[in-house]
């Protein structure tokens, strides 16, 4: 496959020119006269629309280019059945589904069923599961649905996901929904750029902070001097300057080019979900931003988180949660007033997706202002060592050694590791790869943070109750009572200045597959040697997140690993075949933060 060949922003050349459903309202900002009218007029009168819904066991999906307008400028998108998001597919646990995907693009395409456990040939990753879907071809996916919950699907070719190819999957449990609700909405969050994503990528290669307009300035420095004194201001910048890294490197791509969408509606499109006061409303948040983390809250409402990544969790009530590309969170709310804003600000605080829960169409609630941009902390750069620096109040790392490569860590398990004795909990011995000492990495963390109770940069101590990984407890416990039989350690690496992203300092092209022995119960340690959060998505098998003591937390398909954090999860290697494993930030994945897994 040629990952970058696919794309759509070129001159349209297809017979059926029609406007994409469901995004018209989102596009109604400016310049409507530049595009054909008919689709707009009717759509614009509605409050933002949702994706169409397809139900059953047979689905026909057609991938094609469609003109869209989210920003006032007409652009070509890559769509499924002409809508953004793609149709919501409603399935039933236990059914065998048949999905025919027809490619009407001029380039190959693919569809991956994110989080669905299925035979590897059905997983939809070109070059790994199959050869992809050539122009004009129809590929028939067929698999038995053995799970329930909220999932999603998207292209796994080039940047087609960025240009519109994503939709939700809702699988009803065989025994019917466990949770009784009165309303049930998919809320799919995504990002859109009018630019050619390949061009965006090329710009980042040329200047990696191209889209960051929150860099520290000289006046910022003088302000800090007058507030905190000269030395404090200098000190605050010292390490960043020494290491040539930016404290505001929170997202590679910002609202400078992105428009954030909720169910395919730009903020002004105001997607609206209706309710009657007193009803229980389930919102299935699907985080489909290609390069954006969203911090979601509904001012005035507590959210009861009941499911993540399709797996029911013990309900936990929060004000806010962060969701990264690939993750899903289902929440239940009980609205009583007339209108509430669903506010999903981007992690870098440059923009937001927004919608409304309301008793009727056409009303809205105040939209919060964006939170202030926060600098990354020492903890984000240095892990546990930075944790004592003040902004991580409440963390207690206990005894720490300073140099894992040479010393034991008092109070920490040292007998993990390859061929070690006890595997009851993850080894804390940091083992950087040989290939992490070259130009492909810009930092290594020797003393990672292992705690799961950090909501992350921008959400700490914000006065709201924010969900953390430590809050997630999958109902029913792990899939397998076996403990880990073996442990592997993979480091998340990159060089922001060069805009290279890798695992263990090796991009995909230089890598070898990771071999899971079929049938084993394996512990995977992910150790983040970067300053960004990476949502790591393992295809084909569940990632059962554990806490630092080895206790089971939650069953995930996508695990966000924070800067300088070290987390571990267990996998049942029960899915023979080859699988993709990658950071779900699309530009990181395409840069090579990607591994193939062989289960054999």
């Amino acid at each position: 496959m040629k990952p970058f060949s696919s794309h759509a922003l070129s001159v349209p050349n297809f017979p059926r020119r029609r406007f994409v459903q469901g995004l018209a309202a989102g596009g109604v900002l400016l310049g409507l006269s530049t595009v054909a009218k008919p689709g707009w007029a009717s759509a614009a009168e509605r409050a933002g629309s949702s994706a169409p819904v397809l139900t059953g066991t047979e689905f026909d999906l057609v991938v094609a280019e469609s003109p869209v307008n989210f920003t006032g400028n007409a652009r070509m998108a890559t769509t499924i059945n002409g809508s953004i998001p793609a149709p919501t597919l409603r399935m039933r646990e236990g059914d065998t589904v048949t999905i025919r995907v027809t490619n009407k693009l001029r380039v190959p395409t693919s569809v991956h069923w994110h989080g669905i456990i299925l035979p590897y040939q059905m997983d939809g990753v070109p070059g790994i599961s199959y050869k992809g879907i050539a122009p004009g071809e129809t590929f028939t996916y067929r698999f038995k649905v053995g799970q329930s919950g909220t999932y999603w699907y998207h292209s796994h070719s080039g940047f087609q996901e960025q240009t519109g190819m994503y939709g939700a999957i809702v699988i009803e449990p065989a025994a019917g929904e466990r949770l009784r609700v009165d309303r049930d909405y998919v809320v799919q969050l995504s990002d859109w750029t009018d630019e050619d994503p390949m061009r965006v990528f090329a710009k980042l290669k040329m200047q990696s902070d191209y889209y960051n307009f929150n860099e520290p300035t000289a006046p910022d420095f003088f302000r800090d001097v007058s507030r905190n004194g000269f030395r404090a201001a200098l000190d605050n910048r010292k390490m960043w300057n020494e290491m040539r890294m930016s404290p505001t490197d929170l997202a590679d791509i910002s609202a400078y080019t992105y428009t954030y969408l909720m169910n395919g509606n730009a903020p002004d499109g105001n997607w609206t979900g209706l309710f009657r006061p007193g009803e229980r409303v389930r919102l299935r948040f699907v985080s489909s931003g290609t390069q954006s983390f969203f911090d979601v809250r509904i001012p005035g409402l507590k959210m009861s988180v009941v499911q993540t990544d399709g797996q029911d969790v013990e309900p936990v009530t929060v004000d806010e949660f962060r969701c990264g590309p690939g993750e899903t969170y289902d929440v239940i709310v009980e609205p009583r007033d007339d209108a509430y804003t669903i506010f999903a600000q981007s992690m870098d605080r440059t923009g937001y997706a927004r919608g409304t829960l309301a008793v009727r169409e056409g009303i809205s609630a105040p939209v919060p202002v964006l939170d202030k941009v926060e600098w990354l902390s020492m903890a984000d750069m240095m892990g546990a060592m930075g944790g004592g620096m003040g902004d991580m109040g409440g963390m207690n790392h206990g005894g720490m050694a300073m140099d894992h490569s040479q010393h034991a860590m008092p109070g920490m398990n040292m007998d993990g590791g390859m061929g070690g004795g006890g595997l009851s909990k993850a080894s804390s011995q940091v083992r950087h790869a040989k290939t992490e000492y070259g130009p492909s990495t810009d930092m290594r963390v020797d003393m990672p943070r292992m705690n799961l109770d950090d909501p992350g940069i921008g959400l700490r101590n914000n006065g709201r109750r924010v969900l953390t990984l430590a809050d997630l407890h999958t109902i029913g416990g792990p899939l397998d009572a076996r403990g880990a039989e073996r442990e592997i350690e993979l480091h998340l690496t990159g060089n922001m200045e060069r805009y290279t992203w890798s695992l263990d300092g090796l991009e995909f092209g230089k890598s070898t597959p990771v071999h899971f022995r079929q049938g084993e119960r394996l512990r995977v340690i992910l150790h983040n040697d970067t300053m960004m959060t990476h949502p790591m998505h393992l295809h084909g098998m569940w990632s059962e997140l554990e806490n630092p003591d080895g206790g089971f937390q939650a069953r995930r398909h996508t695990i966000p690993v924070q800067p300088a954090q070290r987390i571990s999860f267990l996998v049942n290697a029960d899915a023979p075949g080859r699988w993709a494993w990658h950071c779900h930030l699309l530009y990181h994945m395409d840069a090579g933060m990607f591994r193939e897994v062989v289960v054999a």
């Binding site: 420095f221 020494e242 004592g388 200045e497 290279t500 092209g509 597959p513 990771v514």
Partner: protein, 337 residues
């Protein structure tokens, strides 16, 4: 590569070497000698070696047995005496026991082993694609005090992959419609450290006087505190040698208004009278340009620059009745694509 921090912090970097201060700074990461902000940077930039200076300045910290069991959750005070000397967050050599990144492969590759797809590998990501760019850093018109007008250009283009690429550099002056002095280089750029590339290739000088060809070996990258550095040594015909050092800094006044100090130094191993060059340090330029980035890719600027001929080169100029230095106003545009 684009520096981001502020000038004051930089100018004050010198303070960091104060021993008293270094010892009172519990979290003085500059004092992490092992941090080894990559050796290339230090070698290439004498005087930029903050980490070593701090190392020397912190005898207590580097020799003390670290407070291994100290409670890290406490205040910064609790971190005093920690052995930053053992920390190595960037660059440096891999320890002998570093993990083999292929150890988990079971001997399989992307092309071979169970379930691999037949034929050559189909999945190729951006790490195996070529990118490229062309930065016209200076395209400017200059007006010298009491002198004439001229124009100048400086650009750098590249094409290739992340760690190996073709690099083209060109710099020159045009006065009265005539190319006065031009340097053009064609180089293979190879990444050797986090922020540093070596550049190996050829340089061709044209303009007034006879043309000259050189072999070029240089380094380009980003030094601590966000100094962009471009340094090269050249070997030419007839035993000629040359050194060139350029450095730039970008001070953000706002996100779009950027002040860029820039220096360039040239030195030659032997005189080349035909080109008006004497041996030794021959020429220095120091400029200050203020640009406004309408977009990241398009920024007009104004500035001032002082150019001086030095040593024997200045003598040659005097003999020829030329000025040995001038101050110029510049106005130009920086853009890239």
């Amino acid at each position: 590569m684009k520096p981001r921090m502020n000038l004051l912090a930089v100018s004050l970097a010198a303070l960091i070497v104060s021993p008293a201060w270094a010892q009172t700074e519990a979290m003085d990461h500059g004092a992490m000698p092992g941090m080894n902000v990559d050796s290339m940077g230090q070698d290439a930039m004498p005087g930029m070696d903050h980490s070593k200076m701090n190392h020397a300045a912190m005898p207590d910290a580097t020799t003390a047995q670290p407070g291994m069991n100290s409670d890290m959750s406490g205040s910064m005070d609790g971190m005093q005496g920690m052995d930053h000397g053992e920390m190595n967050m960037q660059g440096g050599p891999a320890p002998a026991d570093a993990r083999d990144p292929h150890a988990y492969s079971g001997g399989y590759t992307l092309e071979s082993g169970p379930y691999s797809r037949p034929g050559p590998r189909e999945l190729r990501l951006a790490d195996e694609h070529n990118f490229g760019g062309l930065l016209i850093d200076r395209l400017e018109w200059t007006h010298a005090n009491g002198g004439g007008n001229a124009s100048a250009y400086e650009m750098q283009g590249w094409f290739g992959r992340d760690y190996d690429r073709l690099v083209v550099k060109a710099e020159g002056d045009v006065a009265k419609g005539k190319l006065e002095e031009a340097r053009t280089e064609l180089l293979w750029g190879h990444a050797i450290a986090t922020f540093w590339d070596t550049q190996l290739g050829v340089r061709y000088d044209s303009g007034a006087g006879p043309d000259r060809s050189w072999l070029a070996l240089g380094v380009q990258g980003l030094a601590p505190y966000w100094f962009e550095v471009d340094a090269a040594a050249y070997v030419g015909d007839a035993g000629r040698t040359a050194l060139r050092l350029g450095a730039e800094y970008e001070l953000l006044i706002t996100q779009k208004l950027i002040l860029q100090p820039r220096i360039e130094l040239n030195a030659y191993g032997k005189s080349d009278a035909a080109r008006g060059i004497g041996s030794g340090l021959s020429e220095a330029q120091a400029g200050l340009r203020l640009r406004y980035e309408f977009t990241r890719q398009f920024a007009p600027y104004i500035g001032i620059e002082r150019a001086s001929k030095l040593g024997q080169t200045a003598d040659l100029a005097r003999t020829d009745g030329e000025k040995t230095g001038e101050t110029r106003w510049v106005a130009g545009v920086r853009f890239w694509f």
